[in-house]
Amino acid sequence: MTALQALITIGLCVLGTTLTRFLPFILFPENRETPEYIRYLGSVLPYAVIGLLVVYCLKDVNFFGGSHGIPELIAVVFIIVVHTWKKNVLLSIAGGTLLYMALVQYIFIG
């Protein structure tokens, strides 16, 4: 990718991100009632979307070859347990990531 292409790509990320942030305020100005269906979607979408993003991150895991997804499984379970127990965002994220890095760099090599 050339520098110009990279700039265009980043520009579109800026445009898309800004659009998603401003859209609700443009569609529903300060003095208008928000439609019920939109309020419903707003209340349930975040839960579905974060679940989607978790799976999206793990999309290239292959259970039938390589490390069979074992490092990912160990790290995700670690994060769930530690976060349920300590509720400390930094500890969960840093701990889970360092554990995963150790697993793929020293134990599940290949």
Binding site: A6, C13, T18, R21, F22, P24, F25, Y47, L58
Partner: protein
């Protein structure tokens, strides 16, 4: 003039403590972002550019993968809309809070990340502190932590060389943490279950490179079908 500065200073002092948890998280995530971006051949200029103007943690990680793939502007734009679709919810929840914030409003909207959203929802300024300025400082401090983290990471990545294999797992970790947090707060787990089930099915059916759009459509359809069953049990 001095009165006005007092008002801003007071709001800054009130805003800072609430942002400390975000500082730790953002510096780490921002550093990891800077290091990864650097490892892909994009130095400090790019890190600064992205953290100043995209300013969306997960999207910036996705943008790294866009930058190392073949140039595809349409896919980049669609991907951005989908990864950031949850912002629509944050905006809808802030329609009231951001009323009467005047010239600060555009920046408050621009800087509404997952973490800033959670701070603004969870804290209230003291009575004698200006609310618009309080929200402004929370937003600005959070972005400052993120930009600082990215710069440190980018510099660190160019000085110290170490094996970054597995570092991109930081994003998975972030989403798992948000997922666990949401799961514990929600009274109704159906939306989360729908999200995971639909995307897993789509991943199996469509393969790893083209399942995201069918999954988004599937989720919208399933959530719309489930609307009547979930009425009265909404989490908002």
């Amino acid at each position: 003039m001095s009165n006005f500065s007092d008002e801003k200073g007071k709001a800054l002092k009130a805003a800072f403590p609430g942002t400390i948890p975000v500082m730790t998280g953002y510096v780490f995530l921002g550093m990891a972002f800077g290091i990864l971006l650097n490892a892909k051949g994009y130095g400090i200029f790019w890190a600064l550019l992205m953290s100043l103007f995209i300013y969306a943690g997960s999207m910036q990680y996705v943008a790294i993968s866009l930058l190392v793939s073949a140039f595809n502007p349409v896919a980049a734009f669609v991907m951005t809309l989908m990864v950031n679709a949850r912002h629509l919810f944050y905006g809808l929840s802030m329609l009231d809070k951001f009323k009467n914030t005047g010239k600060l409003k555009p920046y408050l909207i621009f800087g509404l990340t997952d973490e800033t959203f959670s701070v603004l929802c969870g804290t209230e300024p003291p009575e004698d502190v200006s609310r618009p300025w309080y929200m402004f400082w929370v937003t600005l401090l959070d972005q400052f932590y993120w930009v600082a983290g990215s710069i440190i990471g980018s510099l660190l990545g160019s000085v110290v060389s170490f094996d970054t294999k597995g570092l991109d797992f930081v994003l998975t970790a972030l989403f798992v943490v948000i997922f666990v947090g949401q799961w514990q707060e929600a009274e109704n787990h159906i939306p989360a279950i729908i999200g995971v089930t639909v995307i897993l099915l789509c991943r199996i059916i469509f393969g790893s490179s083209s399942f995201l759009i069918p999954a988004m459509i599937g989720i919208l359809v399933c959530l719309s079908l489930a609307k009547n069953r979930m009425q009265g049990r909404e989490c908002l």
